[in-house]
Symmetry: C2
Subunit: 224 residues, 2 copies
DNA sequence: CAATATTGTTCGCTAAGCCTAACATTCTGG
DNA sequence: CCAGAATGTTAGGCTTAGCGAACAATATTG
């Protein structure tokens, strides 16, 4: 079965389940899927049951949701599509990194395998998308992403941004203003515990910047 | 109402009704739509009734099917999307003109208005697609196409190809071999009536070429 | 101009995806 | 450890897009 044989919503479920555990080990739940996809829990409960009937996920009522090998294959193919499309929109069509997620969310279901491979070729086989997320190879390989959320990274250390969550476009526009993008180097000045603030300084700048929890949790970093 | 508010199939119906009368005055029928779209007549009969209820077409049972002003607006917007996408796939991604129709048929429903305008800009506002079909402007204007089918064009005349129907990819590959594309000049040697053959000679070539009805009806020409 | 062939429509059905309301299970904190 | 909160499932209903069978209207042709 090809990825393109699955319905749009099945493709979205699988992609979402896969990406949910890419950067953190949060267990995937019916309501988390419903929240992300903008549908009600019963819809997801049904949807997951159908995916289980197709052997794309394992799931017993009230139990955990896990991809099967087959399901993972489709999920990774969708992630590849999504991230290549985002990269293409930025590189070739002048989109901002805050504008591409929504567009790719639709296009990923419509492009053919041939088109995806043309785009990949035209971009020179990129390995990361505009948000720093790794792009799986056609065969499904990808180097395991490393990094921790800025909110929990060690104060006093100097780090490189590896990845910024693309979930909130407005946050991305704020980061653009700051000049904070993947591969930016910064030093972590301090965490102010009950204010939930993280103070950072970008490499080459004098100013300190205070980031709240939603911002510092959206940024993944590795030690330089 | 925006074009993107309509279902994919409604978009396809409207586009098909519009294009059916672009190059010839063939009246559009339920079964012709069903044939082109690969669905059964009852499906189309229902679908047209729904479009009529939305005031996008006029249609009384057993009567003719005509676009309303509103329906025409949506139809032209879809034609613009389709043809810009075809052009983009050829110009920017190295597709052959025989490969783009199918891909555009899907993508046209998925791209945003923003993406279409980016593509238009990136291509320098092209006015014709790879098959010679005119690309309507964002406002819906387009210069009326002129031309007659090669099969009925005057024998002995020298003409320029303005348009080749993209309905049959295999035929397009054959034309590629011959070097017969939009803007090619050729002279019409003769029509052989009951053999349904048209003999042509491409400008700058020595060889005559015999084209059967399906080929000579797919080519539109204007006198030089 | 009537019989027949063609074309179009209506009817009743299916499947997918979504919903709300009601119910079941599991988690949690006193 | 148990009651209430949180989460998940089932049941039943809606809409859209499709189908075949049966029927209705129109077109063709002898
Ligand atoms: Mn999607
Ligand atoms: Mn991304
Ligand atoms: Mn289409
Ligand atoms: Mn075309």
């Amino acid at each position: 079965m090809l990825v393109t044989d699955l319905s749009n919503s099945a493709q979205d479920y699988l992609k979402l389940i896969w990406t949910a555990t890419e950067w953190s080990a949060t267990p995937i739940t019916v309501s988390s899927i419903a929240g992300r996809l903008g549908v009600r829990p019963p819809t997801v409960s049904d949807g997951i049951k159908k995916l289980a009937a197709q052997n794309l996920v394992t799931h017993a009522p009230y139990g955990s949701i896990e991809l099967t090998a087959e399901g993972r294959k489709h999920a990774v193919a969708m992630v590849r599509r999504h991230r290549l499309l985002e990269t293409f929109l930025v590189q070739s069509l002048g989109y901002g990194w805050d504008e591409v997620h929504e567009e790719a969310e639709i296009l990923e279901h419509a492009v053919s395998d041939k088109l995806i491979e043309r785009i990949d070729q035209c971009l020179g086989h990129p390995t990361r998308d505009p948000h720093g997320d790794p792009i799986p190879s056609p065969g499904g390989q990808q180097h395991q992403p490393t990094g921790t959320q800025l909110s929990v990274a060690e104060a006093g250390s100097t780090v490189t941004v590896t990845r910024i969550s693309d979930a909130d476009p407005e946050l991305l526009r704020y980061f653009t203003e700051l000049g904070l993008t993947p591969d930016t180097q910064l030093s972590i000045q301090e965490h102010r515990r009950f204010a939930d603030l993280t103070t950072i300084r970008l490499r080459g700048q004098e100013q300190n910047i205070d980031l709240g929890a939603s911002a510092s949790e959206a940024i993944w970093v590795v030690a330089v």
